[in-house]
Amino acid sequence: MIVFERAVKRYPNGREALGGVTLRVERGEMVFLTGRSGAGKSTILKLIALLERPTRGVVSVNGQNTSQLKPRRVPAFRRGVGMVFQDHKLLSDRPVFDNVALPLVVADTPLREIDRRVRAALDQVGLLGKERMRPLELSVGEQQRVGIARAVVSKPPILIADEPTGNLDRDLALEVMRLFRRFREVGTTIVVATHDLALVQEFGLREILIEQGRVVDGPVAAPLELPAMVAGVRLGEGPRKDDASRPGRS
């Protein structure tokens, strides 16, 4: 479960990326974070993955308050969060197998177990048989699937994806989302940041709209005491009807 309570993130240059975000994502839920570029979607993902810490407020992931986590505990924490990126972040000088195996290797998983789980993950994303190829020998869609296989190979309870379909055509984007949905079915909590609202609508899952560092849509699943500064958010309300201003919906 992911909980943000009045989370504020201000970067050293003074820019306030999040201005008191409160949201909750239940265990096994899949939600979409939507909004314009620079709205704060990626910052929310960074806070979930502990790539950043909140300036104020609370971010709790799987019951752990990330602000209180000691630096030496961060690597173990990150092993519990699978990450998928628009630019894949694959190691181009290593074969597909090694890329997918990386989260297991850093977790000191036994070699036999690594072999079994990497093949299973590659099978899930339809890339079994290509484990010896280098990422650059694959198509963009295949590279993205390698990134997804790497994110799920250690079976993390949480999966976050930052614009995972940004470089993909429609069919491949749908394929990737179907993969995510399959992972949700086995209990993985999934947060996908995207500006592809057509895709969001197609899957009919909860959507959290972020604008200028604030949640303006997508109610939390359970009531939370919200600060007055969180404008436009009402607990228990459904999506706003006047969403013509949303990116991609004009």
Partner: protein, 307 residues
Amino acid sequence: MSLGSWGVRHAQACVGALGRLAREPVGSLLTILVIALALALPVGLNLLVENARAATGDLAGSIELSVYFKTDVPLAKAQQLAQAAGERPEIASVKLIPADKGLEEFRAYSGFGAALAALDVNPLPHVLELRPRPQASTTAALGPLKAWLVSWPEVDVVQIDSQWVQRLEAILATLRRLLEIAAVLLGLGVVAVIGNTIRLEIAGRRGEIEVIRLVGGSNAFVRRPFLYAGVLYGLLGAILAAGIVALAVALLAVPIGSLAGLYGSRFALQGLAPSEFGALAAAGIVLGWLGAWAAAARQLRAVEPRP
């Protein structure tokens, strides 16, 4: 994690580091050569000092103490004291030269035979010549022995014939101190060279490190291949340094042997002993590890994942 997995992980990191060195043969070789030269210099100097010590012979065995008794001390008393001195554990040999024998020798070799014949009494005292054991021949050890001898009321003067040995010891001690300073400075140089090489390697693999951090790689995991790289640089540098020293010894052996032969000596230049090679390799490993650790600790802090 089982011990087997742990070993496999370390073996992988070590082989990976070796592979990266092999992929950049020219750059790696130049770095290793610089390290080797920095290590070879103090090792070669040390070898030079040790060989100089050996070439000048067993200096400690040539130190003597001459104990001059007062002229009125009877021979029996001198013999008794010589026996007491000989029983001390630090004394290797004792030789008593009675006054009569001393006069006889003096008369024979000094050229003052006629003048001495005119004397009514023998002006020479009994003399005791003591040769201490090698381990008791240092300046520090000879002090208490001299004090013990001087404390006898029958003794007039105790003379230690060690001035030239002390001078040579002082020269060798100065050389040794210079050697230590050079070793420390060059060791720091090795640490700096390896540290800089690892720093550049970290900068070149920044993207990979970021990805490893993103998937939960610990600091120890990220650091491991760089530490192995540092250790390999140090070890290979030490091996090459031993080779350079061995080559220098081989090139100098013949002319130095000829030089020693002209002085009637059978001295032969000695190379590195296996234990010295082991110490050199260990020093290379430690310096490599230190350099890599210093660079990794500083550089890796700056590499944070950027999603």
